[in-house]
């Protein structure tokens, strides 16, 4: 297979703007604003935000999670845009978790937004997806890992830079299987996201030849999260909850709701490693990743925000960079041109993950490596060596084309 150019032919010979000197008393390069009209590219950001609880105070999501990544990418795009007369800006709209997002989205439409990043629930996203399409708006899902948005409920105008639960579970499973830790027990929470992640783990076990020897459900009865009495109880509860399990290599935890999962490591009855939503955690990015030029984006991010970069920040950064790349390479803010560029089979982007990321053309999910990390560092990245695929090894992660339920029209 030959590497193909990611640049359309018409752009290969493209030579960008010239800087003109303004009398040049000072040596710094300056752009004469009169030489080039500036093209504005506005990007909307629709998020449902409410402060969230976590079992560890370190895991409470920062208030600007995601938005901060988008802002850093806007800066990056503007640095490039200087050379082409393009200017990018972000319009952030915030609602609540269970709220109807249609009214605020209509306001965004009225302001003329053509590209909107969304960090909202699958239900909220589906309530605006078709409205967006009728208005020629491209959506970039940077928040939801729900597989259904890429399967039964996929849309031709919705791109996903967030990984799916099946991608995350497969990335984890490949590593555990590579380690020959093939016998698992599954502890899962009682909320909907927990059950969905547990489903992804069951699917991954089947796919990669691991065996789940027992499952246990942890009912949310309203625990005292970080208080003293809570911790004392937890130290007694967790061993009992994991007592009398059949022989196993790893304990897998599925608790996105942060009810019990982070309490499991070091408290199990048998001394076993923990993975899933606690212990060894799969994600689209890790705040300690420095490989593949990662230290550069991490430095840039930390300088801009005062904190480390999280998965959702990277998902939003990637979405804004995709739009920046399309605008740069087409030298345009025309929605049709940008959409055609992103949907081209040769489209790809560099995203500090050791290889290019690109879209699955059957459901517009971004194919990307999965980081496996604990609270301190990156342990590994998947796909693991030896998991082969006829087209891209990244497609060994998540629902692949032959099994997809997505029908784009």
């Amino acid at each position: 297979m030959t590497m193909k150019s990611t640049v359309p032919n018409t752009l290969v010979f493209f030579v960008a703007c010239f800087f003109l000197l303004v009398n040049a008393p000072q040596p710094m390069a300056q752009q004469n604003p009169a030489t080039k009209p500036v093209t504005e590219i506005r990007i909307g950001y629709l998020r449902a935000y409410e402060p969230q609880l976590a079992l560890s105070v370190l895991d409470i999501p920062p208030e600007d999670e995601g938005v901060a990544g988008a802002n850093v990418a806007i800066n990056d795009n503007n640095t490039t845009g200087r050379f082409l007369g393009q200017s990018f800006s972000l319009d952030v709209v915030q609602t609540k978790r269970e709220e109807d997002v249609v009214p605020v989205f209509r306001e965004m439409l009225a302001r003329g937004e053509k590209y909107v990043l969304t960090d909202i629930s699958a239900k909220q996203l589906l309530s605006i997806a078709d409205l967006a399409r009728e208005n020629g708006v491209l959506l970039f899902n940077v928040g939801s890992t729900d597989d259904i948005l890429r399967e039964q409920e996929c849309r031709s105008n919705v791109f996903h830079t967030a990984p799916t639960r099946t991608m995350l579970a497969d990335g984890l499973a490949q590593y555990l299987v590579w380690k020959q830790w093939r016998t698992w027990v599954l502890l899962y929470g009682s909320h909907e996201p927990d059950r969905l992640f547990a489903d992804a783990i069951r699917r991954a076990a089947k796919r990669f030849g691991a065996k789940i020897v027992e499952e246990r459900l942890y009912e949310d009865t309203g625990t005292a999260r970080r208080t003293d009495s809570g911790v004392v109880q937890v130290q007694r509860q967790m061993p009992v909850f994991t007592q009398n399990l059949p022989q196993h290599d790893v304990v897998i935890v599925a608790d996105e709701s942060e009810v019990f999962g982070s309490y499991v490591p070091f408290r199990t009855w048998d001394p076993r490693p923990v993975a899933g939503t606690a212990g060894l955690i799969p994600s689209s990015w890790h705040p300690a990743s420095e490989q593949w030029g990662g230290s550069q984006i991490q430095n840039r991010f930390e300088k801009a925000t005062g904190r480390r970069m999280l998965g959702k920040d990277m998902q939003a950064w990637t979405a804004v960079r995709i739009l920046g790349e399309a605008a740069t390479r087409t030298n345009s803010n025309d929605t049709a041109k940008i959409e055609a560029f992103i949907k081209d089979e040769n489209f790809s982007l560099a995203a500090f993950k050791g290889q290019k990321v690109s879209f699955r053309r059957w459901n517009w999910q971004l194919r990307q490596p999965v980081f496996l990390g604990d609270g301190r560092g990156v342990i590994s990245t998947s796909p693991q060596e030896g998991f082969l695929h006829q087209f891209s090894e990244l497609d060994t992660l998540g629902v692949d084309q032959p099994e997809t339920a997505c029908k784009l029209n």
Binding site: S5, F19, A29, T79, F83, R321, R329
Partner: protein
């Protein structure tokens, strides 16, 4: 006796004729253990290890061979090392996070890419002061200069452009879009073209220096290797301009490209994650740094076969060879 002397003289002449000629010092920056390894180009053995600043990457040598310049990225400085004493004798004000640089042909000016600040810093080497800073794209990296010293090319890894800079005005005169993550810029010895490697795009763009247009995009294909693993980084072109060598990163190979046909004629297997390249002054050997196997490989440029790998420090990054 007489006969003996004759033979001896013949042997000496033969050695001179065969001319792997003089031993040159090869300097390798080791990103992870903050050292520069010195290797003898003739014996291909390590002769010395020099302690330098944090995260040494870009490395080059003055044209008289007296001073070695090393980007100590995490110390935000360029260190000057006396090649006679191996002592650090000073620093240059490089600006933050210097990664790669290029010395002007007259040896007076150093152009440094400041990765974190989207700048190219221009330094007067003699006066050790900053002449100017030139704003470029996101994550500037590759630095190349035309043989006449008039045009400097910087590549920006996230902006994906080759910025052509007029060295007399310090102004950008053209920005050429290339494939993802451009990492290195190398001029042909006649100055007609500049070759830009794109690590994530997996290509080398050949840009005409006069028209600033891409005249060819070179792709690579290695049987049994997935295309994502082919990541071009370091590029060097022979003094006669006929062959280009391209380091292919995690593909663990150096590609040999015919500069007339742009065909890849050979892939030379070296060490793991091959990064940067340098010729010996006589052009007979090419040396590659192999980051993940902690070694460098000497390649014979006649046969394009690897001769020997030499273990250096941790994560070897850049390499330069003394001119004398």
């Amino acid at each position: 006796m007489r006969r003996h002397a004759y033979l001896l003289a013949g042997a000496v002449a033969a050695v001179i004729d065969a001319a792997p000629s003089w031993a040159n010092a090869v300097y390798v920056s080791n990103e992870r253990d903050n050292t520069v390894t010195v290797v003898d180009s003739k014996t291909m053995e390590v002769t010395k290890t020099i302690d330098v600043g944090q995260r040494p990457r870009g490395i080059t040598i003055s044209h008289d061979g007296k001073h070695l310049y090393v980007c100590a990225s995490d110390d935000d400085t360029v260190q000057i090392i006396d090649t006679a004493t191996h002592q650090i004798i000073g620093t240059l004000p490089s600006g933050p996070d210097p990664e790669l640089f290029v010395l002007s042909p007259d040896g007076k000016t150093l152009y440094v890419a400041n990765e974190d600040d989207n700048l190219v810093t221009v330094i007067d080497v003699e006066k050790k002061r900053v002449i100017t800073e030139i704003p470029v794209g996101v994550e500037p990296e590759g630095m190349g200069i035309s043989p006449d010293g008039k045009t400097m090319v910087n590549t920006s890894e996230t902006t994906n452009m080759a910025h052509f800079i007029d060295t007399s005005t310090h102004e950008i005169v053209a920005n050429v879009l290339v494939d993802s993550r451009p990492r290195f810029a190398e001029f042909k010895p006649d100055g007609s073209q500049v070759w830009i490697s794109s690590e994530i795009g997996g290509t080398v763009s050949v840009i005409d220096n006069a028209s600033k247009e891409i005249v060819k995009k070179i792709t690579f294909e290695i049987q049994g290797l997935r295309s994502e693993a082919i990541q071009p980084v370091g590029v060097r072109i022979t003094a006669d301009g006929k062959k280009a060598y391209v380091a292919l990163g995690p593909a663990n190979r150096v590609a040999v490209v015919n500069t007339e046909t742009y065909e890849v004629e050979k892939y030379i297997l070296v060490g793991q994650r091959v990064w940067q390249l340098a010729f010996t002054p006589d052009g007979q050997n090419l040396i590659s740094t192999n980051g993940l196997s902690n070694d460098i490989t000497f390649i014979d440029t006649k046969s394009d076969e690897p001769i020997k790998s030499v273990t250096v420090g941790a994560l070897p990054w850049g390499v330069t060879v003394a001119p004398n």
